[in-house]
Symmetry: C2
């Protein structure tokens, strides 16, 4: 299990996200938090590629600040619909536009993960499908009034008022929260197995 694999390791979480911190606590991982601030310009790559690139950049920033034997963990989560990445909305108008795009549709959430250990960056990603109910204009207006959409990628929070608009997810739920727990466990197992050989 994750907490056993990391038991005697120095673990660094390269993220300021309170939800990732919370998840690490749930999993019994003792980690130092060293946030990595990067600009996240949207380039022409596919969403999963950008999520992995961003995770790598975050890990790169932090790995130089810590001991060589530390395990540095970075992640980057993106919301995409039809391969278009939806960042945080710039204003209420953009939030409405995003919510109309998501309404009655299925979008993807991608998280890129980078585990930097023993001078090697191990990178992978997870994709989860999220099915949104059809929203009325009144619901979109009411939801924006709660303030929740404004600082969220894709203009919604699955852990909040946004929960009532999600009819189903298909895949890893924790990925939507920002950290695909099962994928992380599988990566860690593979990395530490390599180490034993």
């Amino acid at each position: 299990m994750i907490h056993e694999l990391l038991h005697n390791k120095k673990v660094i979480l390269a993220s300021a996200s309170p939800r990732r911190k919370e998840l690490f606590a749930l999993l019994g991982i003792n980690a130092y938090i060293i946030p990595a601030e990067i600009a996240e310009p949207i380039n022409g790559e596919e969403p999963q590629v950008q999520a992995m690139q961003n995770a790598l950049r975050k890990a790169e920033i932090v790995k130089n600040k810590v001991d060589k034997d530390a395990v540095v963990i970075a992640a980057d989560t993106l919301v995409a619909i039809d391969n278009h990445i939806l960042g945080k909305p710039l204003n209420q108008k953009e939030a409405s536009r995003y919510l109309r795009l998501l309404s009655g549709n299925t979008h993807s959430v991608y998280t890129g993960i980078c585990i930097f250990y023993n001078e090697i960056a191990n990178i992978n990603y997870e994709q989860t499908l999220v099915h949104f109910a059809e929203l009325t204009e009144l619901e979109i207006k009411s939801y924006i009034e709660t303030g929740e959409p404004m600082d969220k990628a894709g203009a919604y929070g699955i852990q909040g008022y946004g929960a009532q608009f999600i009819t189903a997810v298909d895949g890893c739920y924790y990925n939507v929260m920002g950290f695909p727990v099962r994928k992380f466990y599988e990566m860690l197992n593979a990395i530490l197995e390599k180490e034993e050989k």
Copy 2:
């Protein structure tokens, strides 16, 4: 949205579950908590029927303690595999047996919901599929050592160490947490629409 529909209502959550309480807070619902303790004997009915029966029994207990115009909300969540309900394990041996049943398999989580309002019990349920990774005997042993399985239906907690064993869910995630938010919103909309006519 839910918090608007319930804004001027007296809302009673007939549950002691801290996760349901937490979800209500996330959704901006101000509710009084009045736990309803019921025995939950497993009978021959299908799991979704038992979950709805139990939700109804909880609502029935609480509705007599509160004002007539209150909205009483009760829920009951069951874990089932091949139509067999898995309750809380009696001991570590039973926990191992449950975890071996879940390993590499897909099981269902059912939540029955009862909304008692205007002297009418409105009842429905939600089903979510949960896909479990294959567990090694060592993982089962380690997981039981964390203590987490012992007070959980089905011998696992999706919000804890158990998260690393879940490869995917298929359906409403909040249902697995004990309260299907979207279904609840739909029920509430239907009930209060009826009221307006």
